[in-house]
């Protein structure tokens, strides 16, 4: 993971205040400055090295991982380097299937989430709907409930829901959503926080724009699609990231509701490595494999990631 080689856009140049400082203050400032640099670099080492260790270990046979521990070699891809662990991972776990599942589940959750939540936010921000304030209050109220408290009643509940499949005989009804893709997607599409973020953003778009469009005879859905959404790029990016991360990382939920191997997402695959003999090189290879897509996205859309987390600070 060559994080350090990534070209990083520099922040706006600092405008150094041209103030004549007293000798003492200047020295104090320099001491604080050096201390700051030691801290910055120390922390960077602390955060980077475990991840580097994971990646480097994934390339080594177990024996060498333990042999290298006592020297700096633990963090360097030297010695007997190969992709053997990765090959072994694909033998032990249906890793490709899990990756495809997770990509599909996350992508559908993100796309459906953007659509459903922005539509609701649009109606709440733009249109005169009866009972609007009550609906908005109820939606915001759901934010205080941590998912962990709902998870167990929700397992019982999805087990009671009707499920229909299209077979050769036509529609078939069956009971229970356990062991499906939909149980991993649909409960996470509507999200009060996404609605809230879209709502905040839509409020900042001048209403004169849709009035002008209405004068030209545009319907509400067209205003949503052609006026408001094209102007909402940052909000869409924020919601996409805040939906993608938990979808990709979900562990507790699929652990409980998915039993069939073919339907499992990547995080649950972790359990396969502790059944017989543990090969740490393989564990590190699988860990790297399921982390890489997120890290790649993070580096590509760094600014949006940071902005989306910053805006999640609005929550509460």
């Amino acid at each position: 993971m060559a994080i350090s080689q990534v070209a990083i856009p520099e922040v706006a140049p600092a405008s150094a205040p041209h103030v004549v400082l007293g000798q003492k203050t200047a020295r104090k400032k320099r001491v604080v400055g050096i201390g700051g640099w030691i801290l910055r670099i120390g922390l960077a080492v602390l955060f980077l090295f475990p991840i580097l260790f994971m990646f480097v270990s994934s390339l080594k046979p177990d024996q060498q991982i333990f042999g290298d521990l006592s020297s700096i070699a633990a963090f360097l891809p030297i010695g007997n380097i190969s992709m053997d662990n990765y090959a072994a991972v694909f033998d032990r776990v249906p890793a490709a299937r899990f990756l495809v599942n997770s990509i599909g589940i996350s992508a559908i959750t993100v796309i459906a989430g953007i659509l459903v939540n922005s539509l609701a936010a649009f109606a709440l921000s733009r249109m005169r709907v009866r009972g609007k304030t009550v609906i908005l209050t109820l939606i915001i109220a759901t934010l205080i409930v941590p998912f962990e408290t709902l998870a167990l009643p929700l397992v019982w509940w999805v087990n009671q829901l009707p499920s229909f499949e299209l077979t050769e005989l036509g529609f078939m009804f069956s009971k229970g959503w356990i062991d499906t893709y939909q149980v991993q997607i649909i409960p996470f599409v509507a999200n009060a926080f996404s609605i809230y973020l879209f709502h905040q953003y839509f409020e900042s778009i001048p209403k004169e724009l849709d009035e002008a469009a209405r004068m030209d005879g545009a319907g509400w859905f067209r205003i949503y699609r052609q006026v408001v959404m094209p102007l909402s790029g940052p909000a869409i990016a924020t919601v996409a990231i805040l939906t993608f991360l938990p979808a990709w990382n979900s562990y507790l939920w699929p652990l409980m509701v998915v039993q069939t191997e073919e339907l499992r997402p990547v995080m649950v695959g972790v359990q396969y490595f502790f059944q017989l003999n543990v090969s740490w090189g393989e564990v590190m290879a699988y860990s790297t494999l399921i982390t890489l897509p997120v890290v790649a996205l993070f580096i590509a859309f760094q600014r949006s990631f940071v902005n989306s987390i910053a805006s999640s600070g609005v929550k509460g």
Binding site: A44, P146, T149, A190, E208
Partner: protein
């Protein structure tokens, strides 16, 4: 979030059709109401189905003997689940454990995150690089982080090797996760490592709301870095502070993934948590009624703590 939209030039009034007459307007507002409801329906329906219903169910099921898969319908058992819960030693152990975890993690993580935010808020070279590196564990899944640290915490693992090297063999590291005295501290250390970057970003967005001219004025007066922090930064962060307190607390009380991957509550229940107990009884033992009772108690605790925290931070502000 600031809007960067340029307002279009106001449309000239001339040449436009006259304002619609009264009856037509009523008709538009009726269609507007209907169109709006149609747009709201998917989200409202899904939220009702997957948040409101399970929330109500948690209340209802907690007073029944419902099982996940059972040929018999659930029957009302009154307070039986709660009586059993408050007599359960593992549940009390779980409450103590999450209390301990939260009491250490909240100040530690919030404090370290603030230091980091101040460090990367300075406009020096490489700020974006440091920000990226500090944030890297946050985008790494807790499952992966748990696996990685499970490996590093081994008796012969990386951490003990480093301890041995740094102290020239004087200190032998413990078997972190298999020792009741070190298991929870080990989980705490790892959790702070993973989560601190998240709260750094939230502090950072708070720091950026403090007007720069306050600092410029302070520089003119030649104040010390500590005075800058004490009289400008700290008061300027009061809103962010209460927010961070509430989010870290709720996150800490919901501790689950690390436990499930690393210790399964052990050794000797020294790392079991409320959510872990709920999942064990509700999923592994399929006792939905009992698990709902645990969830309900947990929810009440979370709610009480966040209300108290809100109240306290409002008093001070």
């Amino acid at each position: 979030m600031t809007s960067t939209i340029e307002r279009p030039p106001a449309a000239p009034a001339a040449g436009r059709p006259a304002r619609p007459s009264r009856p037509k307007r009523d008709r538009t507002s009726k269609t507007e109401n209907l169109a709006g409801l149609a747009m709201l329906t998917p989200a409202v329906l899904l939220l009702a189905l997957f948040i409101f219903v399970p929330a109500i169910l948690a209340f209802g099921l907690a007073f029944t003997n419902a099982r996940l898969i059972s040929p018999y319908p659930a029957t009302f058992v009154g307070l039986d689940n709660f009586v059993r819960l408050f007599a359960d030693a593992a549940f009390f152990r779980a409450l103590i454990n999450v209390g301990y975890f939260a009491l250490v993690v909240v100040p530690l993580q919030a404090g370290l995150a603030l230091v980091m935010a101040i460090l990367v808020n300075k406009k020096v070279r490489g700020t974006t690089f440091f920000r990226t590196v500090y944030f890297l564990p946050v985008v790494t899944s807790m499952v992966v982080v748990s696996l990685l640290w499970l490996f590093m915490y081994r008796q012969d693992g990386l951490i003990n090797v480093i301890i041995d090297r740094v102290t020239f063999g004087l200190v032998t590291g413990p078997d972190w996760l298999n020792d009741t005295t070190t298991s929870m501290p080990a989980i705490i250390l790892m959790s702070v490592w993973q989560g601190v970057g998240f709260h750094m970003i939230i502090w950072l967005s708070g720091l950026q709301t403090i007007p720069a001219d306050l600092y410029e004025a302070a520089d003119l007066d030649g104040v010390s870095p500590w005075q800058r922090f004490r009289y400008i930064t700290w008061p300027g962060l009061s809103a962010t502070r209460s927010l961070i307190l509430v989010t870290i607390t709720i996150q800490a009380l919901s501790l689950f993934t690390q436990i499930s991957v690393m210790t399964q509550g052990g050794p000797l229940n020294s790392t079991t948590t409320v959510v872990y107990e709920a999942v064990e009884s509700g999923f592994a033992q399929q006792e939905t009624g009992y698990a709902s009772a645990i969830s309900l108690v947990f929810f009440v605790i979370v709610l009480l703590i966040s209300v108290v925290q809100r109240f306290l931070s409002r008093e001070k502000a």
